[in-house]
């Protein structure tokens, strides 16, 4: 197999990569007029046939999502771009927006054409100031060049892109939470149905797509679905419901590695390969104890699972929640899983929006239990309690509105089932990583 050539990241190291001039010099917007002249349904079909799955975390087929919009809707229809990248360990969208904003804008134009939308809202997490400035400049360039606004390139297609900076909440990454936040409300995910494709932003049909997904759309339209399907992992022939994992993917590698990086690779690379070949191996000559396959809400891989293929189906086969955002976090063998899990739980209880009872109270309770273990007051039965709490929350048992609760439960389930020894040792040793039990009261 020939060496994989980065596509999404092809331009990021070029000088002046954010400018319209440089983007057009590399062939950007070259065929936008042709694409905008195509029938919207044809564009949707190309994306659908290419098998592009959402890069935001759930891996829902992108083209299929577009077809859920009501037919012949008088409009308006909205596109929301989810750039509220908040999953710990994830920074791929940030690079795309900071280094190559026009690639994203072209994807937005194509997607809006396909779904017959004339307004796109880009929901950017507030912390991404550099991304905001790059995007803002790029959008202004496009307006000046007639690539946005009224009657783009004489095709009769109108499009406005609104950049919206969020106010820093993990929950705004959930698509209906994002919509609520965009409407100026508290970002409490909505109950479904109705799904956003039927009733979303401002009660109009809305599609929410991730930044990386839309960047892929650009390349699918330029290079064709055959090219896209030549990369990645085809569907499992034994599983008729598996749509496959085609295309390039941006993997973020961080944690205890020598060279944290974000690297573009075909879907299906193994965790071990990522760490060894692309991130320079585990730091300080140590071995990895656990690897997070795709953001902490996806759970953990233990050592014997490091050869798991990181495609959409792979992590699920070894008990993880899924590929998530493909943010790989490495934990070395000198780190206690109690501390790792405590960190995950503290994050999740801090970020739980507090709407559904099981998640609101469950995440906080798990943090309290782990805090107690960490001050040396743990009991072995706490592990079963943690497992029980974790399995009672989430959209999979049906006890919450959104899937972020599953993400809060999964690291607990994985850590305790795969690293139970770590926990038992910690509890039996009665050691305390905190200075005083008083901290039990102070922790979130």
């Amino acid at each position: 197999m020939a060496k994989f050539e980065p596509v999404l990241f092809a331009r990021i190291n070029k000088p002046d990569s954010t400018s319209l001039k440089s983007y057009m010099a590399d062939g950007g917007y070259a065929r936008i007029k042709d694409i905008l002249s195509m029938a919207p349904a044809d564009v949707t079909n190309i994306v659908k046939d290419a098998g592009l799955r959402g890069r935001g975390g759930a891996g829902f087929p992108c083209g299929l999502k577009w077809t859920f919009l009501p037919k012949d809707h008088p409009g308006p229809i909205y596109l929301c771009i989810n750039a509220d990248e908040s999953e710990p360990g994830t920074f791929n969208n940030r690079i795309l927006m900071e280094k190559d904003p026009h690639q994203l804008i072209e994807g937005i134009m194509i997607a809006c054409h396909a779904i017959r939308s004339n307004s796109a809202y880009l929901y950017l997490r507030y912390e991404y100031g550099r991304s905001y400035r790059a995007l803002d400049a790029a959008v202004k360039e496009c307006y000046a060049a007639g690539l946005l606004g009224r009657n783009i390139k004489g095709t009769g297609f109108n499009l406005d892109i609104v950049l919206h900076r969020g106010a820093g909440a993990y929950i705004c990454g959930e698509e209906t939470g994002l919509i609520e936040s965009l409407e100026g409300k508290r970002a409490w995910p909505r109950i479904k149905p109705p799904f956003p494709a039927i009733e979303g932003l401002f009660r109009k049909p809305t599609i929410v797509n991730n930044v990386e997904t839309l960047c892929c759309v650009t390349h699918i339209l330029y290079r064709g679905k055959e090219w896209f399907q030549s990369i990645g992992v085809p569907p499992d022939p034994n599983n008729p419901r598996d749509p496959g994992s085609y295309g390039p993917k941006l993997y973020c590698v961080s944690g205890h590695v020598n060279k944290p990086c974000c690297v573009e690779l075909p879907l299906g690379v193994t965790a071990r390969e990522l760490v060894e070949e692309h991130a320079g191996g585990v730091w300080k000559g140590r071995k990895a104890k656990a690897i997070v396959p795709g953001g902490i809400s996806m759970g953990f891989l233990c050592e014997k699972e490091f050869d798991t293929k990181l495609d959409f189906a792979g992590p699920g086969k070894v008990g993880c929640l899924g590929l998530g955002t493909a943010a790989v976090v490495v934990v070395d063998d000198q780190t206690s899983m109690v501390d790792v899990l405590f960190n995950c739980c503290r994050f999740m209880s801090h970020e739980s929006c507090g709407q559904c009872t099981p998640c609101r109270e469950g995440t906080a309770w798990m943090t309290k239990i782990l805090t107690r273990i960490r001050v040396g007051q743990g009991r072995l039965e706490d592990l079963d309690l943690l497992m029980e709490v974790a399995s009672s929350m989430g959209i999979i048992p049906g006890t919450t509105i959104c899937g972020l609760s599953d993400g809060a439960a999964w690291p607990v389930k994985n850590a305790i089932s795969k690293f139970r020894g770590d926990f038992e040792e910690y509890i039996n040793s009665k050691r305390s990583t905190m200075t005083s039990a008083q901290q039990l009261m102070e922790v979130h």
Binding site: A169, R186, W188, I191, S349, H350, E351, S352, C353, G354, Q355, C356, T357, P358, R360, E361, G362, T363, A364, W365, K368, I369, T371, R372, L385, S392, I395, I396, P397, G398, T399, T400, I401, L440, M441, H444
Partner: protein, 551 residues
């Protein structure tokens, strides 16, 4: 017709009924517990108490169940829907949810006002576990004693159902309440300087399923299990909200709205809710009197009544005329008794409608921030501050053909037309001014039946202290012709008698007053009021129109 199966029991749902699983289960008598869901508010499905298993029955009889639990409030009951609310899976989910809700709950039931009518208590008892597995400190949140003039918030008791938040957004429209902070540190709060003081504010206390939002008026006054509750109707305005009157030992402690789709829905306004205080006022008339030249010559009910009766008869048979003012605060029965009694003395008697207090315009809700009414209107406080103008008018129309306004009667009285007048008050805000009272200064016999002092008392020859709406029984007809029953909850102070009993005795009817018999008599006599004798009156009440057209 749609057929829904609830725990193996089939139930028919009408074509126009749009029910969720909770409502469908209620039809077969199965309770699905819920906190955040309320029939008058939007569905948020966040408390997760109403989780059930749901499936579809296929035409071939097989049932396909959904693999995961779904909230019953959010799931519509359609033809073929199968609801299971008694499986182990559902019970475990309820147990887990209740454990979560109680994690940070202070469990201060002994000092909590809600204890005894608390859904957290009831559901924990029925569905929860008997002990807590929490070994860590609870979150402590500060109480907020000023959420509104009438409302206090015990923050740590709150279970974040957000009913109160949705009420202020969807029904009152004032949107004072909101959720602040995040996760298990969430609290209900107001924006500083914008307390919950809208005219419907008190409803958030009723909506609160736990003891978080409490009424300052009722706080620590009574344990709810001592209270005895009677169905009644709020007399505050012509909306005629159905209410419960809660009393203990002859003292009213609170009014709460009684759900009635026919009248107001689920709520009531604060004006009505706290508008019963005059019942226990020290100002109440409590001594029946016969006055001669300004001196009290008798203060025994039997003597006063006999004297009044004699005076009326004398006037009716003499040259002078008799007039009566019927108050819009009277029940239909009382109006009928008085009008019938006087018309029995002489066909010449003049009957007039008492003053109907109008304050401003109808106040409709929800309102937006600028105070404009938002459609659809969900609650109306009527400008007409009297409970039974419609009912009394029907009685007057029957006896005198038309309804004479109060001002006309004053004019005739000032002109010296009458030798005896019978004045009925009842409006706690007052119903007659000093100047108006002068119209009766020359009248020989002035019989005043009222609850509170008024300027006309100085001209009175007979004073009959009567009862407030919680001391009487009878029918009020609201603005849209809905006849509802008010019930006697407490005994009036010594020296007062309920209006019905006064008039019954005055008319020399035998035995004790029996409003049910009276209603039968009225229904037979006045076709427009035919509806009030039926069983339909009890509970939700009955529209007069319906029965008139049926006759």
């Amino acid at each position: 017709m749609a057929t829904v199966t609830v725990n193996g029991k089939e139930v028919e749902i009408g074509a126009n009924e749009r029910l969720n699983c909770i409502q469908a289960a209620a039809k077969v008598g199965d309770e699905i517990p819920a906190y955040c869901w309320h029939p008058a508010l939007s569905v948020v499905a966040s408390c997760r108490m109403c989780l059930v298993e749901v499936g579809d029955k296929k035409p071939d009889g097989t049932v396909a169940m959904q693999p995961k639990l779904v909230p019953g409030c959010q799931t519509p009951a359609k033809d073929g829907t199968v609801i299971i609310s008694d499986s182990q899976k559902v019970k475990d989910a309820r147990k887990a949810t209740l454990e979560y809700l109680l994690l940070n709950h202070p469990l201060d039931c002994p000092t909590c006002d809600q204890a005894g009518e608390c859904y957290l208590q009831d559901y924990s008892f029925n569905y929860g576990r008997g002990y807590s597995r929490l070994n860590e400190p609870k979150n402590i949140k500060p109480d907020k004693t000023y959420i509104g003039d009438q409302i206090t918030l015990f923050t740590d008791r709150c279970i974040m159902c957000t009913r109160c938040v949705r009420f202020t957004r969807e029904v009152s429209g004032s949107a004072e309440l909101q959720v602040v902070s995040r996760g298990s540190h969430e609290e209900i709060d107001i924006f500083p300087g914008y307390p919950v003081n809208n005219p419907l504010a008190g409803n958030v206390v009723d909506l609160c399923p736990v003891g978080a939002l409490c009424s300052k008026d009722f706080l620590y006054q009574q344990r709810v299990w001592w209270l005895k509750s009677k169905d009644s109707v709020c007399p505050g305005c012509s909306t005629g909200c159905s209410i419960h009157v809660d009393q203990n030992e002859e003292r009213v402690y609170r009014l709460t709205p009684r759900e009635n789709e026919k009248s107001q829905g689920h709520f009531m306004c604060d004006e009505g809710r706290f508008g019963w205080k005059y019942t226990h006022s020290g100002e109440r008339l409590s001594s029946p009197e016969v006055r001669t030249n300004g001196l009290v010559t008798a203060n025994d009910f039997d003597i006063v009544l006999a004297s009044a009766r004699t005076a009326l008869k004398k006037a009716a048979q003499g040259k002078g005329k008799v007039a009566a003012v019927l108050s819009p605060w009277m029940t239909v029965e009382e109006a009928y008794l008085l009008a019938g009694l006087l018309k029995g003395l002489s066909a010449n008697v003049t009957l007039a409608m008492g003053p109907v207090r109008i304050e401003g315009g109808d106040d409709q809700f929800p309102k937006d921030v600028k105070g404009n009414v938002v459609q659809p209107v969900k609650f109306t406080i009527h400008a007409e501050k009297a409970p039974n103008r419609a009912g009394v008018e029907l009685v007057l129309q029957h006896f005198s053909g038309d309804v004479m306004p109060f001002e006309e009667l004053l004019r005739l009285s000032s002109a010296g037309q009458f030798s005896a007048v019978y004045l009925v008050g009842g409006d706690p805000e007052g119903w007659i001014s000093e100047i108006q009272a002068e119209a009766f200064s020359k009248v020989e016999t002035v019989i005043v039946q009222d609850i509170l002092p008024s300027p006309v008392l100085k001209h009175a020859t007979h004073i009959l202290p009567s009862g407030t709406f919680v001391e009487r029984e009878g029918v009020f007809v609201n603005f849209k012709g809905l006849a509802q029953l008010i019930n006697r909850s407490v005994r009036g102070p010594d020296g007062t008698r309920p209006d019905g009993r006064l008039l019954w005795d005055l008319a020399e009817r035998p035995g004790l007053v029996q409003t049910e018999i009276l209603r039968k008599e009225i229904a037979a006599t006045i076709p427009a009021l035919a509806a009030i004798s039926g069983e339909g009156l009890k509970g939700q009440g009955v529209f007069l129109e319906e029965v008139v057209t049926a006759v």
